[in-house]
Symmetry: C2
Subunit: 219 residues, 2 copies
């Protein structure tokens, strides 16, 4: 996903076309690696101890860097770093569901995806780095909002594509509104995860997925 062969290209650093102020104009090989290390280290640190408890000093210690490097690569400071971490984690959310999410072409495939999602969040346990980070820098921040909106858009799009495919196979009635059903299912997943984070129980996530998929199946 990363590893863009040619180095020292004069490209702004924010990947995937996100705009925004992002520091030095060019980066050497070493600089790029350091920057990457900082983002991943920060993400890991946040996953372990939570956003609120993670300080720049923790990140510095874990990544073996210094304050000046942090601000060299992220001139806007903590906020910018957190935003970068949010993007990093948002990428993970979707890629962790592949290839199942991109292949909703039969009922067993849907089940496999459902299991994958449940497993992912079971494994992740009681911490959601993304939601934590987003909450921290405020939902109203345009950057944070953009990251979440884009994630939701893609996620919902993949589910809707799966629904349409099943409609093509005649397994789901054509009258059903794929986008609306996908939105509802996605909401169920989000809520299931949220309840799990807050209470430690995964039952709601399973219920949301199972009931949601059953709802599609019925015709």
């Amino acid at each position: 996903m990363l590893s863009n062969g040619a180095l020292r290209e004069n490209h702004p650093i924010g990947h995937r076309g996100y705009p925004g102020p992002v520091g030095p104009k060019t980066l050497t090989q070493k600089g790029l690696a350091t920057r990457q290390r900082i983002v991943e280290g920060a993400a890991a640190e946040i996953r372990e101890r939570g956003v609120a408890e993670t300080t720049l000093d923790h990140v510095r210690a874990r990544t073996g860097t210094s304050k000046s490097q942090l601000f060299h690569y992220f001139p806007d400071g903590k906020e910018q770093l957190l935003l970068e971490v949010a993007r990093h984690e948002a990428d993970r959310v979707l890629s962790d569901q592949q290839p199942q999410l991109g292949d909703l072409t039969s009922w067993p495939a849907w089940q496999a995806w459902r299991d994958r999602v449940v497993d992912r969040y079971l494994r992740q346990g009681m911490d959601c780095p993304l939601s934590g980070v987003i909450a921290q820098l405020g939902r109203s921040t345009p950057g944070a909002q953009a990251v979440v909106s884009e994630l939701m858009r893609q996620w919902q799009g993949e589910i809707a594509a799966g629904i349409r495919h099943m409609q093509g196979l005649g397994e789901i009635v054509p009258a059903l509104d794929a986008d609306r059903s996908a939105a509802a299912l996605l909401a169920g997943i989000q809520g299931g995860v949220m309840v799990m984070l807050a209470t430690g129980r995964i039952g709601h996530l399973e219920a949301a997925l199972d009931v949601g998929i059953e709802g599609l199946r019925r015709r």
Copy 2:
């Protein structure tokens, strides 16, 4: 809900049987009022400017109190106050849905409840004091977890009761698992709210409610 007639009873202050360290053993009339004022002021302040940006000094200013009073009523400091605010907000979540939530006895009633929920969160806008507070003091905190668990339990219970009532009327097939369906619907609502908080769009909440209720209705 409050206003417990007899004053100066030797009861611990935490209402509704929540345990935990809660400060002075007894409170006079005035003290009780001040304490109440602090919690409500803190809740309001948090609703307006967010948890992360709310300091004890803001609370102090808004409630016309002093630092010493804050620590007099909440010896464990900010954490204790936040927990109290969380309880306060959790109460509001359910009471704001009444009487509709407690009267899911016909399809129009379900629709009225659905509208009430959508309206409540539209009105509330892009801030969720409860989720903010919970995120702040960490989901793992036993106190926070207890508050959310209890809220979810009650909420789901009311929905499930509504489903059972409709089953009694023959409007929903008896085979349907009321608790599981209620869990799924609740998850959808939670996720819909979450998406709204993050993206500003209410479509997911509406979709979750509508699709969820339609799923009950079909038989």
